[in-house]
């Protein structure tokens, strides 16, 4: 069975993105093992002369390395992903490169009607950068709008249409992960290139 790491893109205790990932973990438990990972205790990303990376970021990196894929749920703050998620991704590409060629599914929830659409678009660009170089599942948007009203008291999504869409996308993701496993001819060289690339080298 595939194992996925699910990153909660918010540091808020009351996060509907966390709720969404919990729901996915429960809903798809027979198809995949999903482990939720929190990033809220990571400090703000800061470069240092000795390239220090916090232990917690290293632990998350190891989990991602070992996983078959990553699911990210992001809220939208000011048309983009929260600083805390941006910061986590910066740590996770600072001398370590767990995301290279890793299949990623992007989801997101927001209180308003747009469901974090612009944050997700930026997140795609970010994950596409040379040091992250993730393999983002193409043409698959899951935008959960009005997220405060979306779940029932058991934490289950209420809207059948949305559940159906999520089911379909998750099945796509499983297929995408399986295909991706065969597309690894360039993996070694990709990893090498990510390692050699640096934002502060020319």
């Amino acid at each position: 069975m595939n194992k996925f790491i699910a990153i909660v893109g918010s540091n808020s205790n009351k996060s509907t993105n966390r709720e969404l990932l919990k729901y996915m973990k429960k809903r798809f438990q027979s198809a995949a093992e999903i482990e939720l990972v929190e990033i809220k205790n990571l400090p703000i990303y800061k470069k240092s002369a000795d390239k220090y990376v916090p232990q917690e970021a290293l632990d998350i990196a190891n989990k991602i390395e070992a996983a078959d894929g990553v699911i990210i749920a992001t809220p939208e703050y000011d048309h983009s992903i929260p600083a805390v998620l941006s910061s986590a991704l910066a740590w996770l590409s600072y001398g370590i490169h767990p995301f290279v060629d890793k299949p990623v599914m992007i989801t997101g929830a927001s209180y308003g009607s747009l469901g974090s659409s612009r944050a997700q678009a930026q997140l795609r660009q970010i994950l596409d950068s040379p040091e992250l170089k993730a393999r983002i599942m193409p043409s698959s948007e899951f935008l959960l709008g009005h997220s405060l009203q979306a779940f029932d008291e058991n934490g289950d999504l209420k809207d059948e249409k949305i559940i159906k869409q999520l089911d379909g996308l998750f099945q796509d993701f499983l297929d995408f992960v399986n295909i991706s496993k065969q597309l690894n001819n360039a993996n070694e060289i990709n990893k090498q290139k990510a390692k050699e690339f640096s934002w502060d080298k020319d």
Binding site: N11, S12, N13, K14, K40, P43, I44, Y45, K46, K47, S48, A49, Y77, D78, H79, S80, P82, A83, V84, S86, S87, L89, A90, S93, R118, Q122, Q125, I126, D128, S129, E131, L132, W199, D200, K201, D202
Partner: protein, 417 residues
Amino acid sequence: MKLVGIAGSIADQSYNRTLLNFMSKHCKGVADIEVLDINQVPMFSQDDDQTNSSVIQKLSNKIKSADGVIIATPEHNHTVPAALKNVIEWLSYEIHPLDGKPVMIVGASYHTQGSSRAQLHLRQILEAPGVNAVVLPGNEFLLGNVKTAFDDNGDLKDQRTIDFLDTTLQKFIKFAKVINMIDADDYEKEDLSATGKTDTTVEGVDMDDPDWLNKAAKKVNAVEGNTYVKLDSGLLTVNQLNYMLKTTPIELTYVDENNQFIYYNRFLPTEKMLAKRTPEQVGDSLTTVHPGKERVIKHVKQVIHMLRSGKTDLVSMPVPGGDSDHHVMHYYKAMHDEEGNYKGVNEWAVDLKPIVNEYLKQTGQMLVPDPNAKVDATSGASKKPDAPVDATASASKEETEKEVKPEVDATSSASKH
């Protein structure tokens, strides 16, 4: 023009900070750029709202009182650094200092891209409703290959780059002036009736009560007499404070941030004062002390708005109609707490002529007219004499129309504190 610069990086070594420092140095005389520090800003979290922390309040106050903001962003993972985004999140959650603020984006990066993608993300971010900044369109300044761009003094080496930066900055200054004009009549919102309240407003006593002082003092159990008061650089009793203030030969007036007149140093009887106050006026709102004086009210609003918004920290005006024996000046100085929050006006009135006479007498000199002097040497802002805006008492007889221009550096002698 007063600008603040934010370097998007918190790395110890940041070329974007170098770029801002260069801009600040290079455009001296055209604009005053203060580079702000974002290193100590905590991680944004809805669960731990630190909007009121001193580091965020300081940033917010600096931005609010600036005419524009320049953000220099590096690019990391195709976007702006988390540290920069983090600051913007705090400044768009419970407070919105960037709302309507002219912003110019510049960026430097190690690669040829020169932060192109980060700048586009930043534009989207600044567009968000909670931020609502007004970003200068076009005029992209992308400084690529930054490692070789500066010399040892932190100056840009390439003249064409400098010229382009100059042009861009000039455009931004014009842009900022235009954008700020949208809010130019904001002074109308200044509430001279003091209907709001601050953390020091005494409630439950009518402001216009002639006995406001005693009633308000009782209400707050104010100390008096020989009780000690610890000041920031001294220890005095209330009596000692009074002794000193009442022998300070300058008329001092305290108007708090709620536009309530709460103190003056009564060392002269009312009729002898340059700006006349009576003990019964203490506690009054500024509307009450200017009954039926529409034009004065407008001027007072303009002056207070400039001080409150940080457009300037000092407004000074000569009282017209003086004779050769008197040159009365009114000064209005914004007061702030440690975090830069506006705390009211310190107004003082003083006759400069006796001081000048004393100086001439002691040094054996005399005054002669300067053939090259422009009219109204004290305030270069207008050719006609300015009416005084006595923020507290009714202004003097000649209330000539005076537009307080938004660009006040000419009328004020200082712009920093």
